[in-house]
Amino acid sequence: MIGTFKGLVTNLFLAFKKPVTVQYPWEHAPLAPRYMGFPVLTWDGEVGEPFCTGCLVCARVCPTDCITVTMKDNPKAATGESHRRKIVEDFHLNTANCIVCGLCVEYCNFDAIIMSDLHEEGATTRGDLVWDLARLLEEGKKQQMKGWWSPPAAKKSERRATAPPRAAAPTAEEAAPSGVAAVAAPQESLDPRVVEARRKAAELRAKKAAERGEVVAAPVLETPSVPQAPGVGASAEEGVDPRVVEARRKAAELRAKKAAERAAQQGKEGKTEERE
């Protein structure tokens, strides 16, 4: 009877806590960093063409056969604008079949396909679920603008050749191109808008992470300071937004509190066990 009463009191206090419900279409739970949504194609802003050469590796490795690619001779290679002799002609991704496993991204030799953060893609007909090249590139550009991905300095094949053996170093950075991989990105090629957008995105991410009280806050925040793009350098190194600093401090406090609570909880549980 006392136990029941205890349960009632506990539940009563629960009623004054913040509900965990997220009102979905209006509110979105924050996406995890490196969330894997549908794969999209990346855009080589330097040359003005997709990274994809239509080599079919992704189509062959795809476990659900949801990728269809065709290849053509690259007209820009003839004029010397591009180093790609072949280029993708058409690319179809059937999102109805795609299981978002990421194998295509893993196997792509040209950093041409990336996992996006798109996860709310519905359509009213099955045909609309098949994304064509134009849409994939458009979504990919949006991802790049958001700072979700940026072209790495070295080609994937080169990175792979120079990389230490797998056991020695984790290849997470290499496998999942994110802001972290942009460390030595060619600065002059970058559209200033992209730089700006990326900086903003990084700040936002840092803020979000700090709000969530995550440890990620610190490393993610330091990344944008590295590219040193003109006009960004001033604010990147020293001038971290005071709100960010504040948020980070709060996050640290919260973490300490949580840890203390956990410790207290464990102590309590230990005691109850002893008593019973």
Binding site: G3, G7, L8, L14, A15, K17, K18, T21, Q23
Partner: protein, 356 residues
Amino acid sequence: MSLLDIILVGIGAFILFNFIMGSVLVLILAERKVLGRLQQRLGPMRTGPWGSLQTVADAVKLLVKEDLRPQGSDVFIFYLAPLMLFVPGFLIWAALPFTRDLVLSNLGLGLLYIVAVSTLSIVGMVMAGWASNNKYSLLGSARSAAQLVSYEIPLVVTVLAVGLLAQSLNLVEIVERQVPVPYILIQPLGFLLFLIAALAETGRIPFDIPQAESEIVGGPFVEYSGIRWGIFFLAEYAAAGAMAFLGALLFLGGWSGPFSDSPLWLFLKATALVLLFFLIRAPLPRLRVDQLMAFAWKVAIPLSFLNLLLIASALFYGWPQWLLGAVNWLVLVAVVAAFSWRRERRLARLRGRYAA
């Protein structure tokens, strides 16, 4: 009784009926919202601002839903059963006073009337279960009959103890006798038993064995659809609300309050009891049938008789109220301690058995 009287009573009944309907709508919404908060959810949020029109939408949906009747059912009884459940619920409300004067019919034996009428709901349950021609329904109605009959006894005996203490079965007089000290302080044991029995009578969650969605898919109401099912639902909540009001009248001092006597106090007290019902619902699982019966016959009934005996002897030997209250509190504490001790002992025994 003149024609005018009849018309006046009719108008009063109409107002009361609408009051019940409105309060049931509010109750259902409040239950869903409060239960949601108790489970760290939000409850209904989509229909109307903060989901405030959810029950209205539900009611409209029930009204336009197809009215089904299973083949081989007993037509007349099938259609009569919802009414047989709802009418007693309404009849209880007819005798509940909101203030000294604001009462549809101030019966001299109001308490007896309420107890008698509330028992009628068993008939509705059994009729629904029998007429549906469905084994789940029948099982549910059998369970409900067993449960309601069992818990009717502690309910009646605790209510009788209140009547004995107040030396009246008139609800207005009972409230007026509680003016300095509400009866919850004088007989907490009685209040606890009343609360448990009221929960069981209205079939609310730790005692929702007759409905038991996970076992018998909804008990006597399985075969009902549309507004007939809605009437069952309505009756259930009307009964729960009536029980909350009855508890507020019998144990919490009714409309008498610190500043002035007003029906507002009664509403506040009843609301507090309703919230307590919601709170009890949130963390507790459903009892097993045998646990339910064991509690009724081995614990609730003996304790309610003990409570009655205490009050009877207090009246016979002319104890002052404080002494009676003290003894009653002592018995309550002893009962709770005995329960906890027994539980500990049983746990120790089980541990010993499974440790090896």
